[in-house]
Structures are given as C-alpha cells and as structure tokens.
C-alpha cells in the first residue's frame, strides 16, 4: 500500500462519522437437535404462545451443533420459520462447512464453535488470542434471561500470565500478583488489578459493567477495555506508558490516570 502521509488525513476535514466499539449483548441461542418442517413450526408456535413477550424481534443464534437429524438442515427454511414467529436469526453456529455455506448464503454470521464454558478457560491457552474484541465479546453469553449478578469471590493469580494464556474471572474481580505477558489476555466481569507489568490485553466489565476499572503497576498493555470501550497501546504510549495507572470509563471514553 502506498503510504503518503497526507493520504491519511480525512479529505473532507469532517469529524469521523463512526467509531468501532466492542459490545457485549446477551444473545439467545436456539439449539436445534432435529428438523422436520411442520413439527418444527408447531413447536415454535407453541413456544411463542407460551412467551409472546419474548418472541418479538428477538435476535437469536441458530445453534446446529447438537443437530442429530439424518437430513441436512435447510437453513434458509429454518430462518424463515423463525422470522415468522418473531425471532430474528442473526448468526449460526455449526462445525459443518456445508451448513456454514448455507448460512452465509442467507446472510447469517458464523459464530465460532462453542467452547465448553468460559469458566474452564482458566489457564488453558487458546489459539484465538489474537481474535478481535468485537468477535470475542459477543458470542459467549447465551442466557436469554439475564441471571442476577451474584457476588463471587475474586480470582487471584500469583504466577505470571504468559503469552497465549487467557484468564477470565467470571462474576468478579481478577487480581494478578505477577505480570501479564504480551499476547496474554485477562478478562473479568468486575475490576482487574495487575500488581506487575500489564503487557497483554486487559478487558474489565466484559458483561457490560461500566463501573469496572483496571489498575496496574506498569501500563504496557496492547489493549485495555472496559465494558467494550477500548484503547490501544498507541493511545497511551506517550503518556502513562510504563507507569502505574488506573483506568475507568467516563461517559464514552476511557480515562487513564496515574495511580498515586
């Protein structure tokens, strides 16, 4: 790519018209284990009659991972049936390439394969460490009824979190007594405290808690995010770099201040 500096400037001198922001939305997942047109429709109608309030333009993810039917599922037909009954299919989840192809043809997004649960992602490494925030933030929460947040004890980690590792404190704070390496990722529903250098990515309030904060002894992060609003290292390389910092969300922007 040709990189003349003046090309980087906006030609119209106007303010940016959009900005990318990671969001975390609870999405309902429709686990489909079998499909036969009339039977499926009947059951869907019955469900809709049971909870009419829920079936009103509700976005859903069609999950075909548990699909056991002998025939290939007709994705387009399923999606149409869902729409008829007040559900808006937005994405599909299936390990099958042919099904994914069908979904793409219907304009559905493909969700990454389901992982057993975030809770177990503890110290296991994920090859998806470089996945973008937006993708990362959304798909995991599948509960239609948002469970009441109960106070859970903080998760305390006293060993370095290495590149490729991901640690998630579900429902509470994450306290790291050592450093977080570049290429590692720490997430918490609450606050994140790092008593060493924070060199990787830190995402606090991943379920949307805008009052979550991040504290670290040395800010060298690749990315910091609170409730989906993020900043990259280039945003704070000048100021606060390698110094103790506290980060909070003020309105729509992340505010970084010295920790003292």
């Amino acid at each position: 790519m040709d990189s003349k500096p003046q090309n980087a400037e906006l030609p119209f001198g106007s303010a940016p018209q959009f900005r990318l922001k990671a969001g975390l939305f609870p999405l309902t997942q429709l686990d489909i284990s079998d499909y036969e047109h009339s039977c499926f429709e009947q059951q869907l109608r019955a469900k809709a009659a049971e909870a009419p309030a829920f079936f009103q333009h509700t976005p859903v993810v069609l999950n075909l991972e548990p699909y056991q039917g002998t025939l290939a599922p007709p994705v387009q037909e399923m999606a149409a049936l869902c729409r008829e009954h007040g559900l808006i299919p937005v994405a599909l989840r299936s390990p099958d390439d042919a099904i994914q192809e069908q979904a793409r043809a219907c304009g559905l997004a493909i969700m990454p394969a389901g992982r057993p649960a975030r809770e177990t992602a503890d110290t296991s490494d994920t090859s998806k460490a470089s996945e973008s925030v937006a993708v990362k933030a959304e798909p995991e929460t599948a509960a239609p009824t948002s469970e009441a947040p109960t106070a859970r004890p903080s998760k305390v980690i006293d060993t370095p979190i290495r590149s490729g590792q991901q640690v998630y404190a579900a429902g509470g704070d994450l306290i790291v007594l050592s450093s977080v390496s570049a290429g590692a990722e720490v997430l918490a529903d609450g606050n994140i405290h790092v008593y060493g250098a924070l060199r990787g990515r830190a995402l606090a309030g991943v379920r949307g808690d805008t009052s979550a904060r991040i504290f670290c002894q040395s800010l060298e992060a690749e990315l910091v995010s609170i409730a989906g609003t993020f900043k990259l290292d280039e945003d704070f390389r000048g100021q606060h770099w390698k110094s103790a910092a506290k980060i909070r969300l003020d309105e729509q922007t992340l505010e970084i201040q010295p920790l003292s």
Binding site: T123, D125, S163, G183, R199
Partner: protein
Amino acid sequence: MAKIIVVTSGKGGVGKTTSSAAISSGLALRGHKTAVIDFDIGLRNLDIVMNCERRVVYDFVNVINGDATLRQALIKDKRVDNLYILPASQTRDKDALSMDGVERVLKELADDGFEYIICDSPAGIEHGAFMALYFADTAIVVANPEVSSVRDSDRILGILQSKSRRAENGERVEEYLLLTRYNPERAAKGEMLAVEDVEEILATKLLGVIPESETVLKASNQGIPVIHDDQSTAGQAYSDAVARLLGEEVEQRFIHAEQKGLFKRLFGRTA
C-alpha cells in the same frame, strides 16, 4: 529418582540441540549418569552434534514400538562416561510418539539408574514439543536476545505451567532461562535485547548466558559438544550453567561488554 529436564524454546534455531548436548555432557562430566533423548522425530540432529550419527542402529521410536530394547537403542558417548544418547528416528514423524510409550521409556531409564534425563525438544508447540515437555520436572527454556524468541519462550512457559503432568497435578515445573547467542557489545548498543530486559519480560531464573561465539558452530560441525572446549567463552558459560543447574552459586559472566577501560567500568555504572 531421576530428574527429567526438558530443553525447549518454542522458536526454532535458538540452540536447543546445542544446549542439550552441552548440558548433558556437562552433567556426565560431573559424574552424573545422564541420558539425552532427541524428541525431534523426523529431523534427527542430536546424534550429529554429538558425533554418533554412524552408530545409530535403533532409535527412540523403535523402543516405543517395542522393536528394540532400550539397551539396544542407547548409544554410549565416546568422550564421557555416564552419558548415553537415545536418537530420534529420521524416517518417522512426531505422531509416532505416544504418551504411554514416552512414559514407559522415561520410567525404564529412571529404573536403570539414570540421574538426569535430558529431553531435547523440537521447535513449535505441537505434539512433539508437547511430548518432550509433558513429563518434565525441570524446564530449560532457551531464548535468543530478540523479541520473537522471547515471546515464544513466554508462550512455552505458559504451556509448561498449564499443560504438563506436574501442572495437571497442581505442581509447578521448575523453570530456568538460558539465553544463547548473546553479544554484550550489541546489547549495549541497543541492537539486541539486554539480559535484564529478557529477565524482566520472562520473570524466570537465569540459568546462564551463552555468549555468541564462533566456537559453537565449529563444535557443532565437528560433533564435539562445545562444553568440552574449556578455552571458549561459550564452553565456560555452559559449564557455569551446569553448575547452577546442580544448585551451585556461580556468578554470571559474559553479560557485560569487555572492551570498557577501568575508568569506564568504575564510572560507567553510576552514569
């Protein structure tokens, strides 16, 4: 009780095999019965570095498959008593290493009275590298003073402490950092990461710093582990590293540039 030590790095070409050869020789030179196993199935190199290429009859995979006994496959080193080499197979791939098979061979070596078992890991974080590190009690992570190597070392340390047998049992693998190909002059000029930088990033105990030296390549080509060359700085650095591995307190050498005059040495540090 045999101590299983994996020599690993994540990244290729940083000096794992050279270090495995030197450290296993160093342990044997100090009288410890040592075996060194080449886990790089399909890219057999350790036997060349240790100059026993022509003596390979049976290999690690043969032993795992039961085609040969351990005794038949082990090659006795010609320079040092107490040192035995278990070569890799050149004609197979990493999938030939089964968890049960590797465990059986390690156990048999331990039962045979080996005090140290050095596992020379292949590069990468796939099956071969995983098999080499899974049973380790101690890990020597080899890194070069450059960002990508340090990053890969960090990754492998994470895998060690989460996926190895010790980690599964809730224990920690003892970890050491071995920095190879270090050039203090270039580090001082900022062309290379300095020892302190690497130590800070990896937060791991420093086993030693092996200075960049032409004797390393020469030794490797001649099939004489560089630790035998006590005139070379690299050989001396490996001897120090082995001493530290055995729990001795040895001051780090070869970390700082040498051309500095006395005055600069005296005043340079405070500047």
